[in-house]
């Protein structure tokens, strides 16, 4: 299992990001990742970047960051979820081989 840290971002950092975090933990563990998630508000991204490998956000992020970002609602609605997981695995540098 590869350990990765994902920052999950939504408007308030409460409701939708909690849903997304749980989904990511579940789906990415099947791809061979041990996922640690942290949740925050869109406005607080820059203070929460330490050790983060990937950002998954349900809303646009205004701050400039050097970490890969996926902006998607797929982990909320399930629409396009497989593609979004594929993208996450790719941006995390590949899953189980």
């Amino acid at each position: 299992m590869r350990k990765v840290k994902i920052l999950v971002v939504c408007g308030t950092g409460i409701a939708t990001s909690t849903v997304v975090s749980r989904k990511l933990e579940e789906k990415l563990s099947k791809e061979g990742f041990e996922v640690e998630t942290r949740q925050c508000k869109a406005a607080e991204v820059s203070e929460n970047l330490e050790g983060v490998d990937l950002i998954v956000s349900t809303t646009p992020i205004s701050s400039n960051v050097n970490i890969p970002i996926i902006r998607t609602l797929a982990f909320l609605t399930g629409i396009g979820e497989d593609q979004a997981i594929e993208e996450a695995v790719k941006k995390l540098g590949g899953g189980k081989s």
């Binding site: 408007g11 308030t12 409460i14 409701a15 849903v19 809303t59």
Partner: protein, 161 residues
Amino acid sequence: MSFENMISEDLIFLRENFKSANDVISFLSEQLKNYSYVNEGFLVAVLERESKFPTGLYLGDINVAIPHTDIKYAKKSGIAIARLNKPVNFRRMDNPDEEINVSLVFLLSVVDPKEYVNFLSKLTASFGDSSFVKKLYLAESKEDFSKSLKESLKEKAEVSK
């Protein structure tokens, strides 16, 4: 809290007419307040959040919105729902520059995010199922609406076990 308790027919409003997203949110917020789910500051906080971080979810034919705000304004976990005769414009959560026509509005009152997350994840996962959304859109009565909603939430809960 069980999903059954989260949904109350007292807080489901079908065939409503509103001019704007703010009007729908104000109406539903008033209902939540009447049933002691939220406190005074709730409405202002929801509107403010919606203006910065909109909650319209684009699903295709029938779109939904899930306005909500910080937990400090909520006293009980619950949900107030309006189905509109004519859709109103909400901005997209994933692309706030774009407006979409929303027919179903779910105003959330969240007390404990951990308790709530189960409910919300089942709800939003149900939105991905277009036949479910259509069922809600066509439900004849509050009873039918709430039955379809509860059934889908239960199904999703069983699938994810």
